[in-house]
Amino acid sequence: MKNLLLILLTFISLTAFSQAKLTTTSGHIKFFSSTPAEDIEANNYKVISNLTPTTGAIVFSVPMQSFEFEKALMQKHYNSSKFLDTKKFPKSKFNGTISNMADIDLSTDGSYEAKVTGELTIHGVTKKIQENLQLTVSNGKVTGQTSFDIALADYGVVFAKGKPSTNIAKTVKATVNLDFNK
């Protein structure tokens, strides 16, 4: 009887463990813009993300003022109302699901290609996106890596003339590194 109880308890705690939500508050996102005039890179180490393995639900929140640029003036431009308007829109968010979660076993070491679909909100504009997220499980620790292009005009970030229109690419590349449950 005692053993049965023990087995039952172990089973319950294992189930609880496998259902636990994966979280991080220290994800890294980098964006990179390349034009003949110059290359611009910005880094942000404050990405929050939750991943619920049972449902495949995945969310992100990015504090927009945490992007650091090499040049102070670029950083000011990026934050200003002409660009990302980070005072009005201090956070960018993604809310989506992993459609092939059934093929992904986060309790076993390995590398999995997650197909993520959902809604990305930047600069107050929400768009449906579909991207792949590489999930890697190593010694039980889960990390996520993805890289995708963002067309700035899709999110209402446009600059018709002047230096920014020649020095900032119309499409920037975003690279995300997530360190879950750290």
């Binding site: 220290s26 180490y45 404050k46 929050i48 005072k87 968010k93």
Partner: protein
Amino acid sequence: MKSKLVKIIVALVVIGLIYVGYMWFMPHRDIQSTKAFKTIGATALVNEFLTDKESANQLYLDTEGESKVLIVSGTIAAISTDQLGQQVILLKDSDEKMGVSCTFTLETNAQTSNLAQGSNIRVKGVLRSGAEYDEDLVLTENVILEKCSIEK
């Protein structure tokens, strides 16, 4: 007459170059030497955002990203390191859901070496974003303070 014109043109070019140089090499804002806007407790700051997000954003955030520099006092709930190797200290009262996440810099990291969970400290840093509980996303988001240093 001609030499005067040349002098003026040369002067204008020099001024132009100095201006471009200044824009190009404009130093990043020095948070440590910036006077703090105010001193506030971690939970009080969190609650300002939870009560009225719009007015808190209006008060603390700056249009060009040069948001308010604050001194936040609180209890250390967690100490961690981010992907760049910067120390991150969470100031949060034990009975609260959210607190203030303070990211130090590679230069100020050393100031955190003798700190332990449970002790009370004061941290100076620049506010990047406010606290939020997003019901749809089931996300609890701490206040984010960066470029931090320990305030004695």
